[in-house]
Every structure is written in structure tokens, then in C-alpha cells.
Symmetry: C2
Subunit: 411 residues, 2 copies
């Protein structure tokens, strides 16, 4: 029997998700896998037999190195949630039919909460039909909202980008001798881990942001405007970081107070945007000062030009650990990161039952949110700091980061 | 008589304007200046005697190196235009009084078009009153719109950031197997040099943007929508780069078709923003596909974490050349860059009469705009490419770029 494995990527891209793919591919080859297949666009593409042989795409050590340093999902991603087994057995039968067709012994899925739900359901179904195929989850999300694991690969690089960009925006805001408010909008629908990273801008050489709003607490618009007013009495350059997901106490997104078009993705998630713009406009209207709205937008998740070496290394490790565990017979598990010590930072991997991880959102502990919901504690800063350390610069060709791509480029 | 000089920074910040400041400071010291003063917030701060001794701020070689790699104007900047000499002699008398007070023999101003107007007027007035003080302009602007000089320091780093971010956004846009349009909004009110840099995303590993709109030509909304419609018939991931300054043929900013609040700065320039958002919303409304508006915002001018080494080196050189020229007796001139050859790229400095530079905007030649105003020629790409080469990475401390700042930081 062939020892073939398959790997897919799912959910929002990150700057280091391909480092996990590299970890799965390299470790599987090293441990004797015959073929390492990749599914294009996750389980959705898999169902259409959109499957590639990774060895035909990653042909050399240089390719592997480029893969580690290429942002966004090399294999493509999807937002596709499997139905409950009780609702639709057919799709499961089709998946296992395709797995048999390719003679797959282990299935790896790199993703966040929704992806771990896929691993949970597939491993459950394998049990049900007595299939020996192993299913392992590899954690990935810039949102850092997965349960049990100390943190998720992807988060450290996004946090580093946010902290560095925030420092640069503060410097830029100080340039004129006039009053100006900058509102920075940061990703994170329900969890404030990313917005909290803006707190790291505070250093010896930077005064940091003045106000920080995480989605864990309700947003009080009147209190916000009053605080901005107070700040403007003594400060020229006011910088505020807000999560895109902040909501008023009657459960309305700040975004919903504006008239922007709104989209809903296939998981039913609202596409948020416009929070910073609305707040900046409100400040200018009330206080007459210059204001600027900056959305860090998708660059915060795909800025391969500024990644954390700690993050990119751990992303590789969790990929490798998933393969090792599967080859030892484990299934229905996700690889987790366990922080052994903070200073010096030491972190190891372990595996954990995916049933206790899938569909649970880990939020910032409320006791780490301070100053009436406008700041964060030193604990949060100390938690994040080790994750943004050191760099792995892109391979620069003719002045730009070089990426490796799965399809031929048509110009 | 003391040989003191003074230097100021004016107009929008760049990632490398401080490298020019470093060039002025170091060269002036090397050539025997007694004191190098810095004016805070340009000529505006100078008039309030907001003046610092640079040697007290830049105390070591490490400080000088940090200065080169710190984005935004170290001394602060201003948007202050001197009146015509005929309109208000008083302000000129005050300036020359302060110059006398500090025993200044040479005055350096790092900036763009409006700043060169200041050098022009001050050197004219010096002639009028028979003052021996020399006035030299040091070019700086991400907009690359200064006349005579081959290009301006600041442009190369902004172009590198734009080209690299565009590549990353294209990668990110390809991740889902769905139809999506990304509209990237790039700075450049009247000149399309920055937006043109998005064309450099097209490489062996990247298909590049599909449409590019520069402000040199009128923007036809109906034609735009039709082209997007055609693209959506064959492509899933459509990426469009637009200048913030594109205008319809009846001279309306696309921005003005929206309801966003609008600000006017003290030079009477409208603050533009919302062009991409308006176009993305229009596309979603008409074609029902997902769309995303990305404003590169101030990060394109202050991203010290991704600068061009060519640019940062030339920024230093023009600062040094200005000092050398002034010490040789020159006044009323701006340092220019002269491209000797493109491949290999060789560039030297020279000086040129500031009267023939100030207040003239250099735009992208119309023959370099192709495909009915939706693309750019190979000439433009070849012009830009050498300017984005190589990197000068920031000095990273605890995972973030370290900056040097002029004032004490209060936490």
C-alpha cells in the first residue's frame, strides 16, 4: 500500500501559512511518504479533484525556501464548511472515495476555527466507517483566536506588521505642527489580539497610541468622542487603534452606523470596513481638526516583506509536528504550541483533541483590557512581544520580494 | 565670522528625507561648519525661533545611521508658503534678522515644489539686500514631480513599497476561488509617477495589475466599468491601481462623486481619499462580485521598513552636494540628479537654477501612458526599475524598526 498524504489550506491567508505547508511537505518526504498531494482551494477544490503533486511544484531547496517566504496560500484557500454528518452523508462518501482513489493515508488541513471543524468531522466519519486514514489539523490564523494553543502561527507576523506600521504612522502624524487625529483600523472581528498588538508601538523611541479599542468590550461612542476631546486639549498628534469589529452596546457594528455597502461571506461573516473612516469623520466634524483614517487592510495578513522569524519558524514546526503525529498513528488532533517560558522565550509543540478546539473562539482576557476599555495591560504586551522577534526577509529579486506560485503566470 | 549653517525640512514626509538631513549635517561638519542648526517644522518654526543645534541631537555615528533609516521628517515639517516679496517685506526682514542672530552663512531646505519656491524667494531677497547668505534647495518628494532633476529622492522608496505591496495584494486576492476585484488607491494628486510604479508588480512570478489609471488623462467612468465587466468575463481576480487624483473630463475628482467629508490644506490642496472605495462599491453594485478597496495611505510615504538602498543613498548624496555647492559659493540653486546610464544604472548630482524648477510640476509623459489610458509603457518601467533596487533594512530592536526622534518621549 502506498503511503500518500494530502495537504490543504483553508480560511484567510497569512504571511506564513506557506511555511506550514513547507513543513508538512518536507517532513512527509523525510519520513518516507510516497506522494505528497496538495488540494487546490481546500476541501472545496478537493471535492472537484483539483489536486496537484507537490513534488512537481516544489522541485528544489530554493523552491522550499521561497515557499516559506511567500505570503498568502500557495495552494489557494476556501471558506467551505462541511455539513453535519447527519445532514448529508453523501459529501463524506465522496471525500472518502477520492481519498481512496489517491491512496491517501493521512490528511492535513492548515487553517483556523472553521478548518478545525472540517478535521473534527472528517476524523469522526473515519471512525464511523472504520477508515484507517488519519486527519490532523495544523493551526493558522492571524486572529490568534484558536483555543488551547498558546498562540497561532500567522499571528506573530501580523502583530509585527501592525506594531511596526503603527510606529511609522505615529512618526508620520507628528510631522506637521498642527492638530491631527489618525484612526487606524485593524482586523479582528470578535477577538482583539491584533488590535492589542498596536500597543507594542510604545517603545523608548515612540509614545505609542493614545486609545485602543478591542471588540471584547462594547464601544461607547459618546465616551470615545469625549476622550478624544480631552486628548486634543493637550496633544497635537492623537493616534487611535480600533478593531474593525467593535460594536455598540446594542450590538451594532460601528461600521453599520455608516452607509457603506456591506457584504456577507459564505460563512455568514459580515465583511467589515469603514469603522475608522466613520470615527475620523465624526472627530473632524465635531472638533474641526484634520483627521485621517488608515485601514491596514489585507496588507496586515499578506505582508511577506515584514514577517517574524519566530512566527515563520513555528509555522514550519507545527506543519512538521502534524506529519510526525499522523505517522505515529494520531488522528482527530490539532498541533498546539505550548509556551514553556517567556524570557528566554521557549516554545514546544504538542497535539490536542480537535473536538475541544473547533468552533471555540479564544478572546483577549477581560482583565488584560485596561483604562476603561481604551488600553491593554503589560501582560498582553509581554505575551505578544516574543512572537514578533527577529526577521526572515524575503528573497529580493530586481528590488521586489520574490514569491513562488502554483500556476503558470500569464502576462 | 562663524561658519554656521541651518537646515529645514518641508512638505510631505518621505521614508528617506532624513537621509538627506544626515547628508547635510555630516557634510557640513566635515567641511568645517561650526554649528549646524535645524529648524523645527520648516520656515514656519524658524519664524518662531524654534531652532535646535543638530550636534546635540545627533551625537554619534549610530545616531547618524538611525537618522538615515528613520522615516518622516526628524525636524518636523510645514506647509507654509512665503508671500511674494512685493506683498510682504516684513516676513523677509524677520527671516534675515533671525539668520543674522544665529550667524548663518548657508541655508538648506529639503523639500518639493513649494519648498523650492521658498529657496527661490529667499535667494532673491538676499540679492536684493546684498546678503552673502547662500540658499540651496535639496530635492525631496515621493511624487517625483520636480522639474529638471531625473527623479527625486523619496520616490524610489515609495515606488518600491507600492510595487511590493501590489504584488502581495495580488497574491492575497488569488487565494479564494471566487470572483473578486481589488482597487488600490495610490497617492499622486496631479502626477502619476507613484501609480505607475504599480506596473512593476508584473514579474516572472506575478501577473501584475489589470488596469492602471494615472491622473494625467481624464477618467471615463463608463469606459472603466465596461473594461471591468470584460475582465470579469475571463478572470477571477481583477486588480486595479488608481491614482487618488484621477478626474473626470469635466474636472471632477472621482472622490467628489462620493459623500465623504473633504478637507483643504493650507496650500489649498484638497485632501483626497475615497476614490478606490467609490469604484469598488460601484463594481460590486453593478456586477454583484466581491470587491475590496485598499488605500495605501500614508504608509506608502513613511514605510521605513521597506526602503530602496539606491534611494536612501541618493537622498544622502543630494544633501551632501547641496552643502558642497553652498560652501563653494553657490546660491539660489537646487541639487539635481542626472542619470548617466540606465543599465548599469549610474547617476550623478549637479546643481540647477531653482527659478527654473520651483512651481513647475513634472508629469508622466503622455506617450508613456498606453492601452487607452489603462496601462504604462516599458519606458516608464525601465525608468523606475533602477530606483527601487536593493534594501537598507531598519535597525530592528525588540522586533520593531528603531527610529531616532528629536524630542523626549513622554509615556
Amino acid at each position: 500500500m502506498a503511503n500518500n498524504v494530502i495537504v490543504g489550506q483553508s480560511g484567510g491567508p497569512t504571511a506564513v501559512i506557506n511555511s506550514s505547508l513547507a513543513g508538512v511537505f518536507k517532513t512527509a518526504k523525510d519520513l518516507g511518504a510516497d506522494k505528497v498531494y496538495g488540494m487546490r482551494h481546500g476541501i472545496h477544490g478537493f471535492l472537484e479533484r483539483n489536486i496537484v503533486d507537490m513534488s512537481e511544484k516544489i522541485c528544489s531547496d530554493l523552491d522550499l525556501e521561497l515557499l516559506k517566504r511567500t505570503p498568502s496560500a500557495f495552494l489557494g484557500s476556501c471558506r467551505y464548511k462541511l455539513p453535519e454528518i447527519s445532514e448529508d452523508k453523501e459529501v463524506y462518501d465522496k471525500i472518502f472515495e477520492i481519498l481512496k482513489e489517491y491512496d491517501i493515508s493521512a490528511f492535513f488541513y492548515i487553517g483556523g476555527n472553521d478548518s478545525m471543524d472540517t478535521i473534527k468531522k472528517l476524523s469522526d466519519y473515519a471512525l464511523l466507517i472504520n477508515s484507517p486514514i488519519r486527519f490532523m489539523g495544523v493551526p493558522k490564523t492571524i486572529d490568534n483566536d484558536l483555543a488551547v494553543t498558546d498562540h497561532t502561527p500567522g499571528y506573530g507576523s501580523a502583530a509585527k506588521y501592525i506594531a511596526s506600521a503603527t510606529k511609522e504612522l505615529i512618526r508620520d502624524g507628528l510631522v506637521y505642527d498642527i492638530q491631527q487625529v489618525t484612526v487606524i483600523e485593524i482586523m479582528g472581528r470578535n477577538a482583539g489580539w491584533l488590535t492589542g498588538a498596536a500597543a507594542l508601538a510604545t517603545c523608548e523611541d515612540c509614545e505609542g497610541v493614545d486609545l485602543l479599542y478591542l471588540p471584547e468590550l462594547p464601544f461607547d461612542f459618546d465616551d470615545f468622542m469625549e476622550r478624544v476631546g480631552h486628548l486634543l486639549e493637550t496633544k497635537k498628534n492623537v493616534v487611535i487603534a480600533v478593531s474593525e469589529g467593535i460594536k455598540t452596546k446594542d450590538d451594532k457594528y460601528v461600521f453599520e452606523l455608516t452607509d457603506h455597502t456591506e457584504y456577507v461571506d459564505s460563512f455568514g461573516h459580515k465583511q467589515l470596513s469603514g469603522t475608522a473612516r466613520f470615527l475620523a469623520d465624526s472627530i473632524s466634524a465635531k472638533y474641526g481638526c484634520k483627521s485621517r483614517a488608515v485601514e491596514l487592510s489585507t496588507l496586515q495578513r499578506c505582508a511577506g516583506h515584514l514577517t517574524s522569524r519566530v512566527d515563520i519558524t513555528e509555522a514550519y514546526q507545527v506543519g512538521g509536528s502534524a506529519v510526525k503525529a499522523a505517522f505515529e498513528g494520531e488522528t482527530g488532533k490539532m498541533v498546539i504550541l505550548k509556551r514553556v517560558s517567556n524570557d528566554p522565550y521557549i516554545c514546544t509543540t504538542d497535539i490536542f483533541d480537535v473536538h475541544k478546539i473547533a468552533n471555540i473562539e479564544k478572546k483577549v482576557p477581560l482583565e488584560w483590557i485596561t483604562e476603561g476599555g481604551t488600553g491593554v495591560s503589560e501582560e498582553l504586551v509581554n505575551y505578544i512581544r516574543p512572537l514578533i522577534q527577529a526577521e526572515l526577509t524575503p528573497i529580493m529579486i530586481t528590488g521586489q520580494p520574490r514569491h513562488i506560485v502554483c500556476d503558470d503566470i500569464v502576462h
